[in-house]
Structure formats: structure tokens, C-alpha cells
């Protein structure tokens, strides 16, 4: 028989080690260790906030989703059976909360590139995205801002599910199979949803290209 262990690359070994450490943390958290749960929170909090912030465009809502997601995770961690990765599990909680949030929100933001921060001030999301190209200049920055607003407005016109699939695929770089798992659906359905989202976005943004 092959010595499978001996053929693992350093990277694979490292990945397995990380997963084993995470599994230990999860078990400790399931047994009631608050410190272990805190460690899991620290591991995923940036990803959770990044996703919630990009999807909602609002710091308050992102914070609420963050809190609700980790409280749910804490409450139902005992039900986690290691059938999927913890990453998929926590993302499933977050995406469901974001979907609920998007469905609840009937009104569209008027100035879509603007995010409301903690103190209620408006933050220009696009201004925080630096343009490192040497020919970057104020006129181009303005153009980028306007473009970003149009894209965000086009994304808002998708159904919550289409927006979510596009977000997870395009902006978060996840595999469609994982997205299907997170959204409790099949990879095939996720593919079709991505296709529909792409089609609608093309129609919305036709004159920009």
C-alpha cells in the first residue's frame, strides 16, 4: 500500500493541521469553552463583516448581521456535526441573515456608492478603493465613482438570491458547489442563478461597456 501520509505536500500537511486545530477548537467550544468560541470568532469575523458590509452597504446592518450570526453559531454549535467545513456552516448562517435583510429592505438607497457608518456619517465606498495605476487622476476617480454607483444600483435590481450568488462567486471568489451548500441548494441551481444574474447585469449595464 502507498504511504499516503508521506506523499502529502507541505502545503497539504499545513492545511490538514489547520483543519485539525480548528476541529479541536470547535469541540472545545461545543463542550462549553468560551475561549475556544472566541478564537473561532476571531478566525472568521473579518470575512463575515466583509461579506455583510459589501452586501448591505451599511455598517450598522453589517454589525447587526455579525452579532446575530455569531450568537446563532454559539447557540447552535452543538448541532454542528462536521459534515461540512465550519467555514461553510458559518457562511450559511451569514448568507441567510443577509438574504433576510435584503428581502426586508424595500427601499433602495438613493446614493448607492455611499455607506452609512457607525456615527451615521456617509462614507464613500469607492473613494476607499485606491487606484494604483500611474495614470490615476481626479477625473478618472470621479469616473470610477460614477461607475461604481451604477454597478451597485444594477446589483440592487437583482433578486436577493441572484445578488447573493453573484456576490459569493464574483466578489468573494467561492466555488459554486460551496455556494450551493451554503444556500441549501444544488450546484446546478447555483449555476443557473449565476447565469440569470449575469444576464440581468449585462442588460442593466449595457451602455457602460
Amino acid at each position: 500500500m502507498d504511504d499516503a501520509g508521506g506523499k502529502l505536500s507541505a502545503e497539504e500537511r499545513e492545511r490538514l493541521e489547520v483543519r485539525a486545530q480548528e476541529a479541536e477548537l470547535i469541540r472545545a467550544a461545543q463542550a462549553g469553552s468560551r475561549a475556544a468560541f472566541d478564537a473561532l470568532v476571531r478566525q472568521y469575523e473579518h470575512q463575515v463583516l466583509r461579506l455583510a458590509l459589501h452586501l448591505t452597504g451599511n455598517e450598522h446592518e453589517a454589525e447587526d448581521i455579525y452579532q446575530e450570526a455569531f450568537l446563532k453559531a454559539f447557540r447552535y454549535l452543538g448541532n454542528f456535526r462536521f459534515e461540512c467545513s465550519f467555514y461553510t456552516w458559518i457562511y450559511r448562517i451569514v448568507t441567510n441573515l443577509c438574504l433576510d435583510q435584503m428581502r426586508r429592505r424595500k427601499t433602495r438607497r438613493e446614493d448607492a456608492a455611499v455607506v452609512i457608518d457607525h456615527s451615521g456619517d456617509e462614507i464613500d465606498v469607492l473613494a476607499s478603493v485606491s487606484d494604483n495605476r500611474s495614470f490615476s487622476n481626479p477625473a478618472r476617480e470621479l469616473e470610477r465613482k460614477a461607475l461604481g454607483e451604477r454597478i451597485q444600483a444594477a446589483l440592487e435590481k437583482l433578486t436577493p438570491r441572484e445578488k447573493m450568488v453573484f456576490e459569493l462567486k464574483h466578489y468573494q471568489g467561492l466555488r459554486l458547489r460551496t455556494i450551493g451548500e451554503m444556500l441549501n441548494t444544488t450546484e446546478e441551481t447555483a449555476k443557473n442563478t449565476l447565469f440569470r444574474a449575469t444576464k440581468k447585469l449585462r442588460a442593466q449595464l449595457a451602455e457602460l461597456r
Binding site: 461545543q30 462549553g32 447557540r75 451597485q152
Partner: protein, 338 residues
Amino acid sequence: MNCEVAHERIVLAVWGELADEQVHELERHLAICPECGREREQVRALKTLTSVYAVAEPDANLVARARLKLDEALDALPAKIWLERMFARVGGGFHGLQAAPVAAALLLVLGVGGGGLGGYELAVHRALQTAPVRSVALANSAATPETNSGAKTVLPASTPEMDKVANISEVVKVPNSRMVEVRYNQMVPQQVRGSLDDPAMQRLLSLASQRAVSAGVRDNSVGLLAAECRAGRGCREPGVRNALMMALRYGPDEEVREKALQGLEPLVAEDVQVRNAILSTLMNDSDPRIRTISINVLEPVEGDTSVREVLYSISTSDENQQIRDVSRQMLNRVPEIQ
């Protein structure tokens, strides 16, 4: 391949989701179909275009704020949640057994067999060890007659398994000695007695700063840890330092934050994390007295760039006149030192 199928596969290909064999098939179609070639260019253009609305990293303040709120919410969770979680685990265990009846039967047989054998071994072992166990118990009861009268068990300090400690119910320092008693809860409340120099006791005190049953117990623990640090003992344990930093940052009343601050004082010159925690207190604490003490505690590192920056910032813009004055005085001293 017809054009309709090609269009769907183009989307998947552009986002890297098309299997290799289908990519080759698509390429063959694109080589002979200019319309689908244009379609691919348009989807690629859309991908490039939508990337302009980039994902921004959440800023550090947002992360810190969200974490703090979550901590508070978790602290406020009623004990019921823990019970629910325990029942869920037990329920899950039963579910697993139902799903695997053969394994359940095996477990039962092994359990009965192992239990019988283990019980026999234990009985034999106990019969051999009776005298020494009694003498240890007597020694303990002699040491703490007042606490050993009920169902509680007094154990040596090395015994507690930290993961099984539910919370800390009492911390008592024995007068005129180096001994401290920490009472903590598992399924049955227990008590340990040990020297403040014992790392196991220090770990329990650190735990008490987070898991105490009452504010008084927590304050007592922080006070003891801080006093040890000020006396130059026990502070090198990372758990002790972290407990004091947590108390400084999240302590709900100013007394406990003040004790933590005093405990951290001897470490400020050598530990950047401690220095940063105190800087954070100086900037954010709600009590001006604690902020003033923070300025004084920072004296050994007043020449550090980050300390000077914070001092400069608050000396010019803080809303509290006294804080502005004290920080300005310290800033004025800095050039003389350098």
C-alpha cells in the same frame, strides 16, 4: 454544441467553473462561431466592469466595535442557553445512536463489560490504597475545617482541570500568609487552596477575572493578580497579563480598571501590548481619573513615538481640561529626557 448551451458555458468558463473537457468543447465551438466569440468578450467585460465595485476590508474600529458588542451579548446570555446546548448535544448523541443501532448495541456491550471489569479493578485498587487516601483527606480537613464540612471537596492546587471549571465563586486570601483560596464550580462546587506563587492558582485567578459568579469575586481576583504584579511576582505568566489587560479594557467599574492598571504598571516598559492597552485606555476610558492614572503609568515609555502621538492628540483636542494639561506637561518633559 448549440449557441444556447455555449452561452451558459461561457458564463461558467469566465468565472472558472467549467470542467476542462467542456472548456475544450467550448473552444472548438468558439473557433467557428463569431457570435459566441462576441458573447464571451461581453461577459469578460462585465466581469472586469463589476470588479470596479470592489470589496473593502472592514476597518479596525468596526471590527473592534462588533467584537465588543458580541462579547457583551454573549456575557448576557442566560444560563438557559447553556442548558439548551447541553440538551442539544445529548439529543444529538441519541440521534447518532438511533442512526447506528449496531454501534449502539456494541457500545452497550462494551460499556457493561468495561464497567464491570473497571469496577472490579477499582475495588481492588481502593482496598490497597485506603490508608494513604484517608491521610490526605485528613490533612486537607485539618487545613480547612470550615470549608470541608459540607459536600464540597478541598483539593490540592494542581488538581483542577481548567476546562472543566464552570465559574469562579469565591476568592479569599488567607490573612498574613501567601495562601489564597479559590472556590470554583464544576458539576459539584469545589475548592482549592494554594500559594499565590503556584501557576495553577494564578491560572484560576486569571480565570476568575472572566468567569467569576459575581463582580466582587472578579474584582478580588484582579486585585490579587495586580498586587502580585506590583510586587514583581507572577506577572510573567501570559494568562495573568492578559487577564489584567482584559480587566483594564472591559472592567465595568473604575475600581477594577484602576487595579488592573496598577498591576500592569511594572510591565509597561517591557511589553508593547501592555503599553498599547494602556494607550487605548487613555484614549477611550469613560472615567477621567483612570485616564489621568494612565498618563502617569505611561511615564517609563513617554519617549515612544506612539505615546507621544497620543499625548499630542489629546493635549490639543481632548474635551477634558485636566487631561489636556496633564498630557501637555508630560509632553513638555519628553525633550529633556531625549
